[in-house]
Amino acid sequence: MMDALGPAEWAAIWLSLRVAIAATICALPVAIAIAYLLARKEFPGRQFLNGLVHLPLVMPPVVTGYLLLVVFGRQGAVGAFLYDVFGITLAFRWTGAALAAAIMAFPLMVRAIRLAIEAVDPGLEDAAATLGASRWRIFGTLTLPLIAPGVLAGAVLGFAKALGEFGATITFVAAIPGQTQTIPSAIYGLLQVPGEEPAVLGLVIVSIILAMGALLLSEWLGRVMARRVGR
């Protein structure tokens, strides 16, 4: 079965993993911060921020990809700045694929983490404050450990979304083999060519294995954490 996977397919698999892991790791701290703001703080523009975060979830992915191209392309406002100052190019690079995956996964991560934060009794944070703990100590010793299972769930959801992201990615960074061709764009490409069904089947099976693996891992980690948190 796995013989059906040639070097191009294996490259797509490794690239997909790299993109999804990078996207998840980079988006997670930002998602925690935004989820905390949305769950616990009242500030002007809160609803606007909430809408902005959810935009990639409700917009056609192609539109997100196009906007990324406009903003982060070599000629785009941010893209030109990144290139001129740091020499970084995102468009048509694997880093661009990671950015697209992160943006698409972001709303799912924020939603899961926000639910977890809202489930933590603010009274516990008040109690810690009267005991003299600073805001950062309260976050690090109380809030973060208590929401850890939710953060994990958000990360797994985000990882799965990043692994499967197609529309925004192919629009923003195309599907250059070995550079930006992830599993979904490789499957799509192979389907355009007659006689490639074995390779397609191989990639489909690998996709399922990765998704199931992530799910089982998170279930197990979630149980371990829940026990540690004493819930």
Partner: protein, 352 residues
């Protein structure tokens, strides 16, 4: 000494309170919704008043005129919440040491926490949780202890388990306490000063014995719960009868049970509805305790009852009779009458 004078609008509710809490236990008493918890939260810094001033000794915690609003972290209050609020993912020991380890060995010993240290909060009983919460607050070396109905969520046996610990704190640890409660017997047993809140305002404040014996306090406390508190000394025991003889400025009272050793001070709450008034010394009745008293006040409520303020020696007592009896007996301020207290009317929860 804690000085509080604050205003705060909370929706339709107006909190406007002003009182001083000297050292010792100051009870904040009131019905639910009277603003007790909001008041304590303002002292802790968890609620930001609209105006006013809060000072603890010579430290200003809040003063809107001077633009001072210290964060809870900087107030050094030990807050024991009604629902304990232990951190669920930490052991009892980590909970206790979260705010510091001031006097750790003694606190753990006084509160009997030694056997609980490795346990998780989820496995503790309600009474154990409150003991841990109390210990955690004490170990943060607070300048004042805030106790927000720490016993309200507990059943009677658990209450009886915690009460002695709080009494020991009052007597041994010289930390002033604000004690929120809606239980008169708890207040009578623990407090030195009493502040009664109603609909966001202070309606009575002063030494606990004095406030509880005010006839005007009867409707605030509830007619069933009103009653004066007197401080007595054990004068002797009548072993054959199983009674203890107590003396106070107004005379002597005999109560069933062994209430202490000779010379020991005993606080006694005498429920107003268990005091009967007579114009002459009654004869041929079963009640053991008959005290000569002077009527100091008559307060008519909305119901059929009349609260009668009494002076017995230097102490104040409170009786509650029907309006009909008051009229028939022609009770009047300054009149000399006799107060009859049934020995079994004073329950064990009223003795402390």
């Amino acid at each position: 000494m804690l000085q509080v004078a604050i205003q705060k609008s909370l929706g339709d509710f107006q909190l406007d309170v002003s009182f001083d809490a000297p050292s010792g236990v100051t009870a904040i008493f009131g019905r639910s919704g009277s603003g007790k918890t909001s008041l304590v939260n303002a002292v802790a810094g968890l609620l930001h008043p609209d105006a006013g001033r809060i000072a603890l000794g010579d430290q200003v915690l809040f003063d809107d005129g001077a633009g001072i609003h210290r964060a809870p972290q900087q107030r050094r209050v030990g807050y024991v919440f009604q629902d304990a609020r232990l951190f669920p993912h930490m052991s009892v020991e980590r909970n206790l040491r979260y705010g510091g380890d001031h006097d750790a060995d003694r606190v753990i010993d006084v509160l009997g926490l030694g056997d609980l240290l490795t346990r998780r909060p989820a496995g503790l009983s309600g009474g154990e949780k409150q003991r841990v919460a109390l210990g955690r607050a004490l170990m943060s070396d607070p300048q004042i202890l805030l106790l927000d109905e720490p016993l309200a969520a507990l059943d009677a046996p658990r209450k009886a388990e915690i009460m002695p610990y709080i009494e020991r704190l009052r007597d041994d640890v010289q930390v002033p306490m604000l004690y929120v409660s809606h239980d008169v017997s708890e207040v009578a047993r623990l407090a030195t000063t009493l502040v009664i809140l109603d609909a966001g305002s202070v309606v009575a404040a002063g030494p606990v014995g004095e406030v509880l014996s005010r006839p005007a306090a009867v409707p605030l406390l509830g007619v069933r719960d009103a009653g004066a508190v007197i401080v007595t000394k054990v004068a002797g025991r009548l072993l054959d009868d199983g009674l203890t003889e107590l003396v106070f400025s107004g005379g002597r009272i005999m109560l069933p049970g062994i209430l202490g050793v000779l010379g020991q001070t005993v606080r006694l709450r005498i429920p107003a509805q268990d005091v009967i008034l007579a114009r002459t010394v009654p004869e041929g009745i079963s009640a053991l305790n008959v005290l000569p008293v002077t009527i100091t006040a008559l307060e008519q409520g909305r119901g059929p009852g009349v609260a009668v303020g009494l002076k017995a020696g230097d102490d104040a007592l409170l009786a509650r009779v029907t309006r009909r009896s008051a009229q028939r007996m022609e009770l009047a301020v300054g009149q000399q009458v006799f107060a009859i207290i049934k020995a079994t009317a004073v329950g064990p929860e009223d003795v402390g």
